[in-house]
């Protein structure tokens, strides 16, 4: 009997030991459970401007330069760099020991191919190409940039945090066509993506990159030492806000990237949870400038005169300390390009002036189609305030509701508003896609662009080009002021206020002072 039982008992003992060992290993694994603002679906940050894909990019890829917490470009993968006095010749040397997740070293050829890919996609990259940029590898760790014209944004471009950040890919991937997203993920960033644990629509898992070579400087913004403190990071997608906040309260998750405004106050009352501001966003009222009435700048100015920023951001639900009452700049209040040039006439709502401009703009009561999204709460609120604002100055508004997916398809149509097209829709953008004439999607759109709304103002194009060319800081500031003053005249879109999305974390999470507008999860600890 004992003989027969012996193997069973031995197996049971072995199983118990293995279970204990596994439990012990699990206990030693430091894991961050992070509720991301969206589900990561596309794994190629060089393909889409979706923020969740950008954030994914920063987990697994690295960049040559990166913005620090003050917005200044700092070398990241680059060790040393030099530039000629006229700013047309640049030479970059990579830090030693950088490796991709497939074990191969990062070389200058990888950087050149990645930058060429980026230049074909990004607004600054394209502007650089237009200035005659030519990238060339010198040896394994050195490459050069030669420009035919002065270009004041070389380092800003290489440290561009959003839109299409210039992440470095292996040459073979960087040379793949840009018409479809890359599905292979090979980066040299602080984390490795665990594809075998990826459940689209639910969870994406990352583990610390053991081969990551960090800088000596402490982490600041997207720059500095990005060596991760967590062994494992789980990005969870919890579409129901009640459940995600309950999970945070219960300690099942450590952090929520974006808390809906309604939940900010209840979470603030929880002694175990810290609620903070994660960056800044501005709201956009986008006009279709192909059709009347918004093909007339006076009509667009009229709307801007009627916008009460406080009402917009209050309707979106953000508490007083997470919204601005009035922001006088098109480039993010508190951002590196903040200026109030040209803002004075718009500081106070002036309905009489708006009505006068409408009349001067030739508006005769035509129907204005406003697209109102029903499935994104904050955009729904902003769209409804837009409807009220337009009505307040006497516009004949036709508010058409649908889901956001339908709006994204409809806004791309150039059909007349009464034939399935549109006149107005609202959206928001994060600070890095707003804060300069080149990163702001609508202000950087030159005539002939194919951005929904199709803004075109040749004077703005000239002023933007002048700002880009300028390399002397004081003169750049003057160029920026001239650009903003013209923006108030041309009104490529109307901005409707600024707010800070809130994050919430359990107080066991450390280094939250290093958490930035883009999730810098490598800096956090527990």
């Amino acid at each position: 009997m004992m003989k027969r039982l012996a193997p069973v008992l031995a197996a049971a003992a072995l199983g118990a030991c293995l279970a204990l060992a596994a439990g012990s290993a699990a206990a030693q694994t430091k894991t961050l459970r992070f509720v991301a603002h969206a589900d990561v679906k596309i794994l190629d940050p060089t393909f889409t401007t979706a923020y969740i894909t950008r954030n994914f990019g920063y987990m697994v890829y690295d960049t040559l330069f990166a913005q620090d917490a003050s917005g200044t470009p700092k070398p990241q993968m680059v060790d040393k760099y030099t530039s000629s006095k006229d700013g047309k010749e640049w030479r970059f040397t990579l830090r030693p020991g950088l490796k991709f997740s497939d074990g191969k070293p990062v070389t200058a050829a990888d950087c050149v191919a990645s930058l060429q890919r980026w230049s074909s996609r990004d607004s600054i990259g394209r502007a650089m190409t237009a200035a005659g940029a030519e990238w060339k590898g010198v040896d394994d760790s050195t490459f050069t940039l030669t420009l035919k014209e002065p270009f004041g944004l070389v380092l800003d471009g290489l440290a561009k945090p959003s839109g299409f950040p210039p992440v470095i890919l292996p040459e073979r991937l960087a040379k793949m066509p840009t018409t479809a997203p890359l599905s292979e993920v090979v980066g040299s960033g602080p984390f490795l993506f665990k594809r075998d644990e990826w459940v689209p629509g639910s969870k994406a898992v990352f583990v610390k990159n053991p081969a990551y070579v960090g800088r000596k400087e402490p982490p600041s913004g997207l720059s500095g030492n990005k060596t991760a403190h967590f062994d494992r990071v789980e990005w969870l997608y919890l579409p129901d806000s009640n459940s995600s906040t309950a999970a945070l309260k219960n300690g099942e998750v450590d952090m929520i990237e974006q808390v809906p405004p309604d939940y900010i106050t209840p979470l603030r009352s929880d002694p175990n949870i810290l609620v903070g501001s994660g960056g800044a966003y501005q709201g956009f009222i986008v006009f279709n400038q192909l059709f009347p009435p918004f093909n007339n700048a006076k009509v667009r100015q009229a709307v801007l005169h009627a916008v009460n920023q406080e009402k917009f951001v209050a309707a979106m639900g953000y508490p007083l300390d997470m919204r601005t009452t009035y922001c006088a700049t098109w480039f993010i209040c508190g951002g590196p390009n903040q200026t109030d040039a040209g803002a004075e006439p718009f500081r106070k709502v002036d309905v009489a002036k708006a009505k006068q401009l409408l009349a001067e703009g030739g508006y005769k009561g035509e129907k204005v189609v406003v697209l109102v999204p029903t499935d994104i709460t904050y955009l729904n609120a902003a769209a409804l305030v837009t409807v009220q604002t337009l009505k307040s100055i006497g516009m004949n508004v036709d508010a058409q509701t649908s889901d956001w997916a339908t709006i994204t398809a409809r806004r791309a149509k150039k059909d007349a508003p009464d034939a399935g097209g549109w006149n107005v829709y609202v959206t928001v953008a994060g600070e890095f896609d707003v804060n300069s004439p080149m990163t702001n999607a609508y202000l950087s759109a030159a005539c002939g662009n194919s951005l929904p709304g199709w803004p075109c103002d040749k004077t703005l194009d000239e002023l933007r080009a002048a700002w880009v060319r300028e390399t002397v800081p004081a003169k750049r500031k003057e160029a920026l002021d001239r650009f903003q003053m013209r923006a108030f005249e041309a009104v490529p879109y109307a901005y409707f206020g600024q707010y800070s999305p809130a994050y919430a974390a359990r107080k066991t999470i450390r280094n939250l002072d290093k958490y930035w507008g883009i999730p810098t999860l490598w800096a956090l600890d527990k």
Binding site: K41, I42, T49, A180, N242, S243, S244, A405, K414
Partner: protein, 312 residues
């Protein structure tokens, strides 16, 4: 066997019609996956290029022909967004959904059949009224509300069970069950209400039959009589159970969303929201297939409860 094959063959045209309808409904609804993939700041040129790459600029009949041809070879296609094969996405989602269906229906059957039988046996008494009040409440209170109350009570206040998520069975029965208790109790309440009412009504009807009166007159015990009655009332109950299982396997969006369970229901709703055509088409077709199959199995199970059907 011949009957089975004929029934399976008869489902093929049904599936063909379902496939065509699903395809047309999805492609004719407004929205453009290319615009969503390209991102909020993408230009219309970028979107147009992407549409061409994805083949979405092809005529509708050609897109359908290509999909149907792939389907005939067992290829469900690849998600437009994640570039992951639909079969792999389904494989990830099917275990949570099957687990929910299994546990939910087990809870529902275990509680509702005795409750319904008891209510029928004591028809008109306070027990019957209490069971009926429970049924009405369980059926009429929204699922999400009960879900939130369960989370508040058992996860946040008592901290007995997790708020959200799913643990695979391979990771242990304990965590698997712990993650299933709240969502399954939440869902089971609806099915319990339905099954209890169905059981009560059918058993009550059977209890008034002559052969039951005869059995009682011959002195058969109450439990034995109820056993006879239940077997004769089994067909409508089995049908309700079968339909319930089919509906659960098709996905329970609200419960999966409230409890953040990555099941088939959430896969469908996420795919619909982003117009991920290959995923929606495949999952809906699969759901229709499961529904047809379960109905077939229910039909085939009838002779087990009633030999007269087999003899006929």
């Amino acid at each position: 066997m011949g009957i089975l094959l004929r029934r399976i063959a008869a489902t093929l045209p049904v599936m063909g019609v379902v496939a065509l309808l699903v395809f047309l409904l999805i492609h004719l609804s407004p929205g453009d996956p290319a615009a969503l993939i390209a991102g909020d700041l993408a230009s219309t040129d970028d979107i147009a290029r992407l549409r061409a790459t994805l083949g979405l600029d092809e005529p509708l009949w050609r897109q359908f022909a290509l999909w149907a041809a792939r389907l005939a070879h067992g290829d469900l296609g690849t998600s437009i967004f994640t570039q992951v094969p639909v079969t792999a996405l389904l494989a990830q989602r099917i275990e949570p959904t099957l687990s929910i269906a299994l546990v939910t229906m087990t809870i529902a059957i275990v509680f509702s059949i005795p409750l319904g039988t008891l209510a029928a046996h004591r028809a008109g008494s306070w027990i019957d009224r209490a069971v009926m009040v429970f049924s009405v409440l369980a059926f009429s209170v929204p699922v999400f509300l009960i879900g939130y109350l369960l989370i508040w009570g058992f996860a946040i206040q008592l901290q007995w069970l997790p708020v959200q998520g799913y643990a695979r069975l391979a990771d242990g029965v304990g965590p698997w069950l712990a993650h299933l208790v709240l969502p399954c109790v939440n869902l089971a309440l609806v099915y319990m209400a339905l099954l209890t009412r169905m059981t009560r009504a059918t058993v009550l009807e059977v209890l008034q039959e002559d052969y039951i009166r005869t059995a009682r007159a011959k002195g058969l015990g109450m439990l034995a009589v109820l056993g006879h009655a239940l077997r004769n009332a089994a067909i409508p109950i089995a049908t309700t159970v079968g339909v319930g299982i089919a509906l659960l396997i098709g996905g329970v969006v609200v419960t999966e969303t409230v409890f953040a369970i990555p099941g088939v229901g959430r896969l469908v709703i996420e795919s619909v929201q982003r117009h991920d055509y290959p995923v929606i088409q495949s999952v809906l077709l699969l759901s229709a297939g499961v529904y047809v199959l379960v109905n077939l199995l229910i039909d085939l199970s009838y002779p087990l409860f009633d030999p007269r059907i087999r003899d006929a």
